[in-house]
């Protein structure tokens, strides 16, 4: 019987490089976030050699157009073109640390070979907005809450997670374990809660429900942003059951 040779399948896709590892003598493994395939892992052969034609086109924190030959085990990157190199981010250590943080979060909330256009476009829009004048803390909080929303983990900010009642305007408690706000009277029934004032609750709701262009022109107090940071940090840790590695570096260089 004549041997059947399966034809290789090629795809062309836009992608953002989230992570990279050295592999073999001169190769690298990249983890891409793509609009149509979710996370994909590919090998870029010979890319560490100075004369590699792909080397300058691709690095972590680059938006590229990738031509990938799909294989059962590890797919191959056969050609690559830069769409956006995010030069502004790469020339500033503080912005790089923000970039690393956004990439790590996107990886944690995306699934391999599972299309999730929205997370890709959220990351892409957020990276496009970063420059020296951007309010970094506000952008990160907006990104975190929208990432939680798109991945189906948005905490309930309107109903008490214990009684089920609609929350009245006022200060409440945030319980990561219960997945949202609870009334203050339940403080003995939920562990590790965070006390959240009414303005911070309003700010969180506003961030989830609005596009960046509207958010960026609105005023937020430092105190509210700090509180939202405390809530999202604790909640993300509970969901992912791990801490975000790049957060330590982010707080160190900022």
């Amino acid at each position: 019987m004549k041997a059947y040779k399966r034809r290789k399948k090629f795809i062309q896709t836009e992608a953002i490089a989230l992570k990279v590892y050295d592999f073999g003598d001169a190769d690298r493994i990249f983890i891409f976030l793509t609009p149509g395939q979710g996370i994909i892992k590919i090998v870029a052969k010979g890319i560490r050699k100075p004369k590699s034609k792909m080397g300058g086109h691709i690095d972590v924190l680059s938006k590229i157009n990738a031509y990938i030959s799909l294989n059962d085990n590890l797919s191959n990157l056969s050609q690559v073109e830069t769409i956006e190199n995010y030069k502004t981010i790469k020339e500033d250590l503080t912005l790089i640390s923000v970039g690393f943080y956004l990439l790590e979060l996107s990886e944690k909330f995306s699934v391999e070979n599972d299309p999730n256009n929205d997370i890709y476009y959220l990351l892409s829009i957020t990276l496009d907005k970063i420059d020296k004048s951007v309010h970094k803390e506000l952008l990160m909080r907006w990104f975190e809450l929208n990432l939680l929303s798109l991945s189906g983990f948005l905490p309930d900010l309107y109903n008490c997670q214990i009684s089920g009642e609609t929350l009245l305007e006022g200060d409440h408690l945030f319980s990561s374990i219960n997945g949202g706000l609870v009334e203050k009277k339940f403080s003995t029934e939920t562990d590790n809660y965070i006390y959240v004032d009414k303005n911070s609750i309003k700010a969180m709701r506003f961030l989830v429900n609005n596009e960046w262009d509207k958010v960026s022109t609105s005023k937020f107090s430092v105190k509210n942003l700090e509180k939202i940071k405390e809530v999202t940090k604790k909640y993300i840790q509970t969901i992912t059951q791990s801490s975000i590695n790049s957060e330590k570096f982010l707080s160190r260089v900022n």
Binding site: V20, N85, K90, I96, E104, N245
Partner: protein, 212 residues
Amino acid sequence: MSPLNNSPFIPEALNDLIESFRLLPSIGPKTAQRLAFATLKMPTDQVKSISLALSDIKNKIIYCEICQNISQEAKCEICITESRDRSTICVVEEAMDVYVLEKSGAYKGLFHVLHGSLSPANGIGPEEIRINELVTRIENDENVKEIVVATNLNLEGEATAMYINQIISESGTKVKVSRLARGMPSGSDIEYADDTTISHALGSRVIIDEGL
């Protein structure tokens, strides 16, 4: 996995050797088998010599107390050579990079090996690489006038270079910090160069004739 691995027909000692070779980078199951069978066919004294070299690498190799390069003595050969330029320290990611720069013959100063680069997403921060040792070294050695940061030209290498620059300026030491030039590799065609390389090459262009 190759059908030979963990087969009951393979003697345990040979199987252990195959599994040991597989721990090395770039060695797959097939190559591990070839290496194990090749070792079996070698004369006993050669095998003993390989075995001795393997145990020596862990017993005898230490890090130089000055530059953190690999060495057999407390201070490495480069650090004790009097003729080297003591005003310049070239900072590299790995010990292998020292040998590449040395081979070029273009650098006569001292080195500092970080043993990695900042990779926040993988949990590698400044404490995990030897940046603090570099700062202490600069603070305690008034001969040092320039730090040449020769970390890799990727995002992690660039972040490491920027962090070194930031921490040296914060330490208050008056040391110049420079970075390796970026541009077209020798023998390459402009046709295939990417935008980043071209823009760096233009930025670091060299004047052939002033035209005066």
